[in-house]
């Protein structure tokens, strides 16, 4: 029985401390699960077996000596392949970085290592985090552990699927327009996007710099609290990581939600959304009311404009951030170029996938002479309006409750039209534009057994309240404890 891999990180930590289990046992078990399950789920781009076992052995020694580094010591984790890892290839899901081996660790990676975490490997994603399904990965598509014919969401699809399938206790992803919360909803796990500036972006391969944020995927709120506590805080390498004290997130979990004011935005229950999603979210809201929260309607009138603004700002920043992939310093270089410009153009044509090219073109266009004011300038002003929507709402409520997505995980290859795909992110994008923290937690299942995400949104830097509400909800519901039925058909293969 996969005993250790079914535990949460905090349960695992307790077993290490009591001596019932060792980090090496856990790492070994997780590596075996990856070997058994990942051929079907396809969450991992790289598995770092030797390094994992080495780090696990080091953690063993610390526990043996009675001097563990903290609550994540010896905990098996995995990372979206957008986070730079020294000496371990980091692709950002792109052909152009297929053989890129960073000479440095992202700040969050360094903090995880300093906390004793055991890195199992790097996870699949849509190329440069542009996508909602992992179908835009240059390598392969990750499958949703709840239904292998469906996508796990994206862009952090590998990170969501790995936690859902029990192939890592905790993972890190990035969220630019919903890339943590949407796959968390689709894959039935907790996924949190912290406040912009709460977590360092140093070493995070940039998609849209003013929107990107790193955050955890976890099985429950307590695990998310542990992970956030390790990665959060100012960084001398990231000027946008803000120096705001990091509270003890775990300590705040048990305080209950009696009297908390929850806002329910009318715009997030739109026509055409999946009725099962709406039903589940309304039921979840009723559950929170039973726990003592009071709800009231709020309005976020610029929600729809937010989506349009996002599709100006994110491609604009992306077109700039991706200019550096030119075949000169690292990554792919297309052969047979006549000259430098030819080399640039051929390299980028060969190295970038269709979605990336689309966004680079769009971003180049909206920033070009004569169009800046109409597009980029206007989008930044609309961004202000979106922020104000939230400010006005948070003048009246402590937290906003809403669906994470209008629908559940879709079938692979089902969404071909880019614009249709973009509309999927309408409930997550405004949160990025406003820089706020948001979390998606399992909030039910459809008749067909697909997970439904419940989204909670808090004022800036109030992740503690998000986690407290998530925790309260998880004490009275069991959605988060359900596991996809993957083990049985694959166990044989693991033993072979």
């Amino acid at each position: 029985m996969a005993a250790l891999a079914s535990l949460t990180a905090h349960e695992l930590g307790a077993r290490y401390r009591s001596g019932e289990a060792t980090p090496t046992q856990a790492a070994t078990e997780y590596l075996a699960r990856i070997e058994a399950l990942d051929p079907e789920v396809r969450a991992f781009l790289t598995v770092t077996r030797e390094a994992a076992l080495r780090r696990a052995a080091e953690a063993d020694a610390r526990f043996k000596a009675g001097a563990p580094l903290g609550p994540l010591d010896g905990v098996p984790v995995a990372l979206k392949d957008v986070l730079c890892t020294r000496g371990i290839r980091t692709t950002s899901g792109s052909k152009i970085l297929e053989r890129f081996v960073p000479p440095y660790d992202a700040t969050v990676v360094a903090r995880l290592f300093a906390a004793g975490a055991v890195l199992l490997g790097k996870l699949n994603m849509d190329e440069f985090a542009m996508g909602s399904s992992t179908e835009h990965s240059a390598f392969f598509t990750t499958h949703n552990p709840w239904d292998l014919a469906r996508v796990p969401g994206g862009s952090s699809g590998g990170a969501a699927a790995a936690v859902a399938a029990g192939m890592a206790a905790l993972t890190l992803g990035t969220d630019t327009g919903g890339s943590i919360r949407q796959p968390a909803a689709f894959s039935g796990v907790l996924g949190m996007k912290p406040t912009y500036g709460r977590v360092s972006r140093y070493g995070v391969i940039a998609f849209a710099s003013s929107l990107d944020q790193v955050g955890p995927f976890a099985r429950d709120a307590e695990d998310a609290a542990l992970m956030l506590g390790v990665i959060a805080g100012a960084d001398p390498m990231d000027a946008t990581a803000i120096d705001v004290p990091v509270p003890d997130y775990r300590a705040a979990l048990g305080q209950g939600i009696e009297g908390l004011r929850l806002g329910v935005p009318a715009e997030y229950f739109m026509d055409g959304m999946d009725p099962e999603v709406e039903q589940a979210v309304r039921t979840a809201i009723a559950t929170l009311e039973k726990l003592g929260a009071r709800t009231e309607p709020v309005s976020l009138p610029h929600t729809e404009y937010g989506l349009a603004a996002y599709y100006v700002i994110a491609p604009a920043e992306a077109s700039s951030n991706l200019a550096r992939y030119d075949g000169v310093k690292y990554g792919l270089r297309a052969p047979g170029a006549r000259d430098l410009i030819d080399m640039y153009s051929k390299t980028r044509a060969a190295g970038f996938g269709a979605e990336v090219k689309r966004r680079v073109m769009l971003g180049t266009y909206v920033l070009s002479a004569g169009y800046y004011d109409a597009y980029y300038g206007q989008a930044q002003k609309v961004r202000t309006l979106v922020r104000r929507d939230f400010e006005q709402a948070f003048a009246r409520v402590d937290l906003i409750v809403a669906p994470t997505t209008p629908g559940v995980a879709f079938k692979m290859g089902e969404r071909e039209d880019p614009l249709q795909m973009y509309l999927n992110d309408i409930f997550t994008i405004p949160v990025n534009l406003a820089g706020l923290p948001g979390v998606s937690i399992p909030g039910g299942f459809t008749q067909a057994g697909l997970p439904i995400g419940l989204q909670l949104i808090a004022p800036a830097f109030d992740e503690a309240t998000l986690l407290r509400v998530a925790h309260a909800y998880q004490t009275v519901t069991d959605w988060h404890t359900r596991r996809p039925a993957l083990d049985v058909p694959t166990a044989d293969r693991a033993l072979r």
Binding site: A323, Y344, Y372
Partner: protein, 483 residues
């Protein structure tokens, strides 16, 4: 050159700031290190890296802006400027665009016939690019190589308004600007090493016309001489074009100092679309008055003020004061020596004639490492004053001080260079000289005054230069037959 056109020139000067580290990372801003040994993920634009503003670079910018009378923009920010070139790791340069650090300054320059005010449009900060090495010339090289050591070194760009009216005036403006940044200690001013670079915009218009003609940008003006030569050349080229009704193309041209021509680099008709937008990785700057005042309090006395003070306090000529204030250390040196010696005029002479000849370059660092500290120069002057040594011997002593680092006193006593100022000893030498040169004595008697000078010279020679010249003169006159 006689012509019917007025010349309009504006200069863009890039000054490398003398910070310890680069603009946005902690790598050392060094010159001449082995290729790619002073780089990191940030300055090499690696995926995931982020810039972080160097506070000292901002303060150097503020200091310079204050020195040239700019208004500091409380709200200023960085922006990304996009174009593809392999020396620029991210294919965008972090610079300042719509909201620069400072604007609306001015600099008084005098290229004759009188001082004129040249406007400063803006001062902004940005990062430098790496260095490209071509196999042979750029046009024929089959490949090029990039060294990113220089990438990310802080640059300050100072843009003048198109107020300059002649190549001379442009050179004088550049010299004044260089003196200021060197003075402030924000740039070493070394044009050969590229610490100070200059591009010029130049256009001609018929005299009396108010609108500007088509402007041409000239790059690679890395010395005062190049600035003057390139602009002279460009005036000729444009005049010829205007007179033959040829169209002047708005373009960028490169100055080739060997062939003394400008060559077209690219036409503005294919102008870059830089797609500027605010740098999302860097929070904006908010330069409040308190910060500006704190920086202002640290400003040293600037060259212009110091020049005036040198003329007034030390009775120096314009020429002397100007030369002595070219660098802050040189001026400091002069002042320290002048105070110690109490004879500013002769200190000025010694510094300008002797010291500057000995120093490898008039550059500031050379003076700081000078083996003759100001107190020692004052010591030398005191020995001349009290008659211990002659002015002639003093020059030898000066050279020896420079080589050894010893004081004048030590050298004079070690080498027995003390003047022979004893009447008895010198009288014997005078008698000997008179005896040996009877023919000259005869000439003197016959009224040939120049003979006296020859005899003084002979006395000096006989005493190996140690004779007190005034005493030798007197004794000779006494001992010679009366005319």
């Amino acid at each position: 050159m006689m012509n019917n056109y007025e010349t309009i020139i504006g200069l863009e000067v890039h000054a490398q700031l003398s910070t310890v580290t680069k603009m946005f990372c902690g790598c050392r801003a060094v010159f001449g290190a082995a290729p790619n040994t002073a780089t990191c993920p940030v300055c090499q634009g690696m995926p995931g890296s982020l810039p972080f503003i160097n506070r000292r670079a901002v303060e150097f910018g503020i200091m310079t802006a204050l020195a040239i009378g700019c208004e500091i923009n409380a709200h200023n920010r960085f922006a990304r400027k996009h174009y593809y070139y392999p020396d620029m790791p991210k294919n965008y340069q972090i610079s300042q665009y719509e909201e620069p650090l400072a604007e609306h300054g001015r600099l008084i320059v005098d290229a004759g016939p009188g001082p004129r005010e040249i406007g400063i449009q803006r001062v902004h900060l940005e990062e430098d690019v790496g260095k490209l090495l071509h196999e042979g010339a750029l046009e024929t090289a089959q490949s090029s190589s990039v060294d990113y050591n220089r990438a990310g070194v802080p640059l300050m760009e100072i843009v003048s308004t198109p107020d300059l009216r002649s190549p001379d005036e442009a050179a004088v403006y550049l010299r004044a600007l260089r003196a200021i940044v060197v003075y402030l200690g924000v740039c070493d001013g070394n044009m050969e090493e590229g610490s100070l670079r200059c591009d010029a915009n130049i256009s001609l218009r018929p005299r009396g016309q108010t609108e500007y003609g088509t402007k041409v940008e000239i790059k690679n003006l890395n010395s005062f001489r190049n600035v003057r030569d390139a602009l002279e050349h460009e005036i000729k080229r444009q005049t010829r074009a205007l007179e033959t009704n040829e169209r002047i193309v708005q373009e960028t041209r490169l100055w080739d100092p060997d062939r003394m021509v400008t060559v077209s680099m690219r036409s503005k008709e294919f102008a870059h679309d830089y797609r500027y937008f605010p740098e999302p990785d860097l929070p904006p700057l908010d330069v409040q008055p308190a910060w500006v005042e704190e920086v202002r309090a640290r400003l040293p006395e600037l060259p212009e003020a110091r020049r005036a003070r040198f003329q007034a306090d030390y009775a120096l000529s314009v020429y002397e004061a100007d030369l002595l204030t070219q660098g802050r250390s040189l001026a400091d040196y002069f002042e320290a020596a002048a105070r110690a010696a109490g004879k500013p005029k002769s200190v000025a002479n010694w510094v300008l004639n002797e010291l500057l000849r000995e120093l490898p370059a008039a550059a500031d660092p050379a003076i700081e490492d000078c083996p003759i500290p100001p107190a020692n120069l004052a010591g030398l002057l005191a020995l001349i004053d009290d008659g211990t040594i002659s002015g002639k011997i003093a020059k030898d002593v000066f050279e020896k001080m420079y080589r050894s680092g010893d004081t004048a006193q030590a050298i004079v006593s070690r080498e027995g260079l003390t003047q022979v100022a004893d009447e008895g000893a010198l009288g014997a030498a005078v008698d000997r000289v008179l005896g040996e040169h009877a023919k000259v004595v005869e000439d003197y008697r016959a009224g040939k005054k120049a003979a006296l000078g020859f005899l003084v010279g002979q006395v000096m020679k006989a005493t190996q230069g140690k004779a007190n010249p005034a005493l030798a003169n007197r004794l000779l006159i006494e001992k010679l037959p009366k005319v």
